[in-house]
Amino acid sequence: MAQATNDVPNAVGRFGPFGGRYVPETLIHALEELAVEYEKAAADPAFHRELDLLLRDYVGRPSPLYFAERLTEHCGGAKIYLKREDLNHTGAHKINNTLGQALLTVRMGKRRVIAETGAGQHGVATATACARFGLECVVYMGAEDIRRQRPNVFSMKLLGAEVRPVTGGSRTLRDAINEAMRDWMSSVETTHYILGSVVGPHPFPRIVRDFQTVIGRETRSQCLEQIGRLPEVIVACVGGGSNAAGIFYPFIPDADVELVGVEAGGRSRRLGDHAATLCHGRPGVLHGSFSYVLQDEDGQTCDVHSVSAGLDYPGTGPEHSFWKETGRAAYTSVDDREALEACDLLARLEGILPALESAHAVAEALKIAPRRKQEEIVVVNLSGRGDKDAAEIARLRGEEF
């Protein structure tokens, strides 16, 4: 395998061998149109000006890079910094992508948007962007995720979106993507699909990554400004992998910066009990892309489990597969219990309630920091805030909410 490079994907959407476009012919024309429109937008300074202004005045960027002093003391090792994506409007990094794609939707002259959501963060961010631009919005969400992320479901409705429960399959993120794709099969001429992660057919993995790289670009300049140098380690959680791709990508050429992706270890290492695709899966095809997947010997997608609805996904972005194979990023997993403990610890020591997704990255940082020297720096991408998880955490603890 060649070295990791920032010069991916190629024209046909390949990150090394990964990526591509494995979808029904019906969708190909729309994907080509999207790729062309995106190229035009990316080369248009007016597009960037409009997006940058929205990110500043509407989202509240740049998000702070915060030194977590008490968490650092607790670990007794490397300094832990948090990239505060939880402070964005709508409470997660997802808005970076949905605003970019909403602008693309308007440029393409489409008035209707569909999206899938797991934890509901992407659904809320899509509903928000659609409200902001006056676009009709339909969000597909697994029935199981609707149950465990109720606050986000209600927010989406308040924002004027229609939330359609998906009752097929495992009733989680993967099924929501299936259903959104099926909607798109019929509506492709008038509808844009705002995919929420760096997954799916080309050009989605590239578009979503590009819109999320604002996280890494800011982190890089904030490290230089606040610390005077780059960090030793960057840690981010990986489901589909958009927040990780966003913070990793600008650091790919900085070979001395270690990149660590943290997957959902769930209940156990047994297939079906976790969602650690890069750790335990193998290359295959899911949702239009060739990447690591969790599937059986016949290519049937496996059921997965995580306490976190946003990491509960049997696939992962093709660029993560590329980074894994090239050795540029390392992937590990953190189980449900460790994530819940990290969530608790961050809340008590720093007064920050992280999303259960982001808590996986925090948990990994808690393992890394004590093994490192005090002058070393670990940056954690705190991709979202945890309000949405409060009720589910209460239920798991057997407490009243």
């Binding site: 046909v12 012919e25 019906t26 969708l27 794709m181 099926r182 001429e189 095809v285 016949d298 997608t301």
Partner: protein, 273 residues
């Protein structure tokens, strides 16, 4: 020439059209799959499209999704399906159950890739299948599988849809073997009340571009659909309307369900003449 090429050559010479049912393999079990193929071959079906159940079929509507799920819940395996195709066609050396029309498998690329491209073609061909449809493998990604299929004289049927631009449609036609699967609608599989009249022009145009047979599928479920499309097509594919009836095998005597499917298909088949 594959058996599909021979079939269409024969039909064209006779001025006839192909009728092609789609059925799910293993819903509710492979014995019933075999029985349905036997019943429908007896009703004059020319070619079978055998759906290999897949967990995430994004081109399929609720009827075929549910059918795939029923088969998968019973732990249907590709190896068992291939073995059964072999039994039906005589491909595995046993006496064929019937003088079977050609069978093409319809399998997601996830399934084909996991099995191994070479191995999939070799195993399906050894079982007596004549070709494959891979509904999520667009022409840009199809080259590796197409090369293997071409070498083996195993048809790789590709799809053209109403959203396919015309220059692209020509490119797809050049890469296709067996027949072209023209998708009647912009959407997923499932019965429709009516079909867009635009198909007629689009398929007529397509048939001028290629010597390959063009078969139309998606949404076809009524004799009037068949009468509408037959003049422009080389064949018609009917899936959900049959699969929906197969589902009743769970609650009704199988012989009765087979009769009902047989009569339904015969009514469509008659409209094709």
């Amino acid at each position: 020439m594959s058996s599909i090429d021979l079939l269409f050559q024969r039909l064209r010479t006779a001025g006839k059209k192909a009728f092609m049912p789609f059925i799910t393999a293993g819903d509710p079990d492979l014995d019933f799959t075999e029985a349905v193929i036997g019943e429908l071959a007896g009703r004059g079906c020319d070619l079978f499209e055998l759906g290999i159940p897949y967990s995430d079929p994004i081109a399929d509507g609720p009827v075929i999704q549910a059918s795939y799920n029923r088969a998968l819940e019973k732990k249907i395996k590709l190896a068992d399906i291939l073995e059964r195709i072999g039994k039906i066609t005589g491909g595995t050396g046993c006496q064929p159950v019937l003088p079977a029309p050609p069978i093409v498998t319809m399998a997601s690329y996830a399934v084909v890739y996991r099995h191994g491209l070479e191995k999939y073609v070799a195993d399906a061909q050894a079982a007596g299948a004549a070709g494959a449809i891979v509904p999520d493998l667009p022409v840009e990604e199809a080259a590796p599988l197409a090369a293997i299929c071409r070498k083996a004289d195993f048809s790789l049927i590709q799809l053209i849809t109403p959203t396919t631009p015309r220059d692209r449609a020509k490119r797809i036609a050049e890469q296709t073997t067996g027949f072209i699967y023209y998708v009647s609608i912009t959407g997923i599989t499932g019965e429709r009340e009516s079909l867009p009249p635009q198909i007629l022009d689009d398929v007529a145009w397509l048939r001028q571009q290629t010597p390959l047979p063009v078969c139309i599928g998606f949404g076809i479920s009524r004799p009037e659909h068949v009468r509408m499309l037959a003049p422009v097509a080389d064949g018609l594919i009917v899936g959900s309307a049959i699969v929906r009836r197969m589902a009743e095998a769970a609650v009704k005597p199988r012989r009765q369900v087979l009769d009902e499917i047989g009569r339904f298909v015969a009514s469509l088949r008659a409209a094709l003449e």
